[in-house]
Symmetry: none
Subunit: 225 residues, 4 copies
DNA sequence: CGGTAATCGAGACGGTACGTCGCGTCTTCGA
DNA sequence: TCGAAGACGCGACGTACCGTCTCGATTACCG
């Protein structure tokens, strides 16, 4: 298993030159500029946060002209999205053989990732994107966050192997696992998260799995409301 | 039961006058100013989001001098937090008698609330607060979001009534229910949410309850699954 | 006699606050800002010329925010015009008693003034204003350059005293004196101007006066063309 | 006599290829490029003035690469000087036989030329050059404006023919005639210039000639007037 | 006739200034 | 003293140009 940087084919928000095919005319864009910009953007963001995230500073630090930045990204939000996504991209190449193993692996990875600067940012960007038209556009190409996609794939595999009762909703299980972990990280004070035994999220997965199992046995639960 | 606007006595971030005793001297503060400011702040935030949230605009719209705003809130983050919280406050006076009933009630209410403008605001603000030190500080006095507090209260009552196995972690169940609902709302496209049968969240609660039940039967969490 | 700074009543391009009468409301403009700005503008212009004249630099040097500058002048041209005019204003309070004395006084003063940084600028601004709509607007309130007005006044006095033949065109004499001096300064290399005896411009005046005198004697000159 | 466009052999600021001898190797320069560039430069300068004179715009309009422009002129000032001079060049081939005739011819021509777009351009450029070191350098090779040279030649001829008293300063007379005409054009509102009888400048010349004549009669310049 | 070398249009590059806008503070008047 | 108004210093925004550079394509000559 691994959190691998995505060998992505997508440009990730970095504006393509209008022409589709190879080089058109004029001096070609220096690919190094893009890399330096994204790296400087991450550095500035890490130091000063979003409110202190200034394109002027990115330009100053990377030695890139502002013009060249605006040639690639339409505004500072887009640059930040690209910068963070580049690193945030991973494919949960999780395959322990069992559903539980996969989910535990995922839950731990996601928890740790969320506590990372990059993870925190990508998550928040996802939320902001729901609200900000500006950000939403930058995010539009890829509406489903990576972690949601990853969980669903794992669950589908489990279903195929018969580890989950037939008819179990993939989305439902995914919401439970990913949502619970996210909620956990965002509502637990940092010092408690640090102190916490690693099996906190394991328990979480167990409850979910037990729940789906049990429900298939007792048809309609305590539905006497 | 009800989602009641809190008849709060708390000042909610609105700075008290330095002197402890009531009025000191000079012209007393106009209470209308506070209301107009908060209302204008909500309007601006809704229209332009955090990055476009400008105190100058709030002042312009409400006809309040910037001085008067800074007399009450230390910076624009504090004003926004106060503005959103004022409306967002509710107490889940949920008491159906059974744990499942309460949780289902809560899950439905939270789901609907999240899709509300106000709910979206408070949720986003919470996320923003995780990242902006400025906002975080404004949030610090009251770190736990309302919905988390509400869920925990419900679960504690259930534990007391013996509806949950002894030793069940309150935080864990709360994370599962609240997190799953939140995740559900934010990762499901709007049109699917609309079309969805109301018992989507009911199922969710059932799985969680079944999970906690089952786990108490099988000794070890790291089962043979 | 003297080249006196004009005790001007005009605001000279510094934008008035919209309201006509005294103070309206809000914090009043700091008059010191205007002074510091104009002075810094002159300094920057002197050092770097028009092409290096940067508002950013003026702001930096004077410790004034760019916002405050743009509150007063619509663009950098207007600021420079104001800065230069403030110093350039003079009233040729020339009154030696005789026409020749006045004209000589004026011619010397104008020659020396033109060789000044400020004088050179005001002259060039006047020329540029003939061509640039932007500058023209800034200059519009005062189409006649100061030196033209001054010369005409002197000549009119001379006419009144009978020192010039009746019917002599004021404009014609003014063009001759002011134009010749201007042309002289702008076409003579600097080192020659420095070396030159002061009576160079005196001669000039004498030729003009002699010419007007003679023409009144011999009706139509050598008009045999 | 005539105001002839100069059939100039001079390169006029257009940089020679470093090698003295004709063509070295490689593709020869396209002569059309130079013409298109100068013409576009004049158009841009006429429309937007010096401050709005942008090489990018010249390149865009003429369809010439910026590289090709910098191959020919070292900077935008040089391009502009070349562009304006190309059209502005004339040789005052004036020879009516008499000094007065020549001067009147010159004065009329200069007056009309100044009111021309081209004349205005070259005049303004000359003034700008006095102030912008960049422009001045571009002008340096040819410091005396065409009209000054022309007047001086005329006057020298007059002196040689004995039409002026011996010892009369050529520069002085030239300043008077050329300066007065220039001043006249630039300080008289356009509608008055239009309405004006053509002999306005004739008078001017007469005064100057009369003045020089008279002065030779009365011994001391510093007369008793 | 193929190679070499300069030119051509195009446009990216690092900079710097533009003119605008917002923050949080300050300073006035009138209530 | 508060409240409205708005000036203040600061600094980021996104745009436009400068003068340089690097592309591929073109066009002469030279061997």
């Amino acid at each position: 298993m691994a959190w691998l940087p995505l060998s992505g084919k997508r440009t990730l928000g970095c504006q393509d030159v209008p022409v589709a095919k190879a080089q058109r005319s004029g001096r070609p864009r220096d690919p190094g500029v893009e890399q330096r910009a994204l790296s400087a953007a991450r550095a500035v963001y890490a130091e000063r946060g979003w409110s202190g995230f200034s394109l002027d500073e990115v330009a100053r630090r990377s030695g890139i002209g502002k013009g060249s930045l605006y040639l690639r990204w339409p505004d500072k939000a887009a640059l930040l999205v690209a910068a963070v996504r580049e690193r945030a991209r991973f494919i949960a190449e999780i395959d322990t053989g069992s559903l539980r193993g996969d989910l535990v692996e995922f839950a731990r990875g996601w928890r740790d990732y969320l506590r990372t600067d990059e993870g925190a940012l990508i998550f928040r960007l996802g939320v902001d994107a729901t609200f900000s038209p500006q950000l939403a556009e930058a995010f539009a190409e890829d509406p489903y966050p990576e972690h949601i996609r990853a969980t669903r794939a794992i669950i589908r595999r489990g279903l195929a192997r018969g580890e989950l009762p037939e008819g179990t909703s993939v989305a439902l299980v995914a919401d439970l696992v990913a949502g619970a972990v996210t909620n956990h990280v965002h509502t637990t004070p940092a010092h408690l998260l640090d102190a916490q035994s690693p099996d906190r999220v394991d328990e979480l997965v167990d409850v979910v799995l037990a729940g789906t199992q049990k429900r298939s046995e007792v048809p309609s639960g305590t539905s006497d409301l």
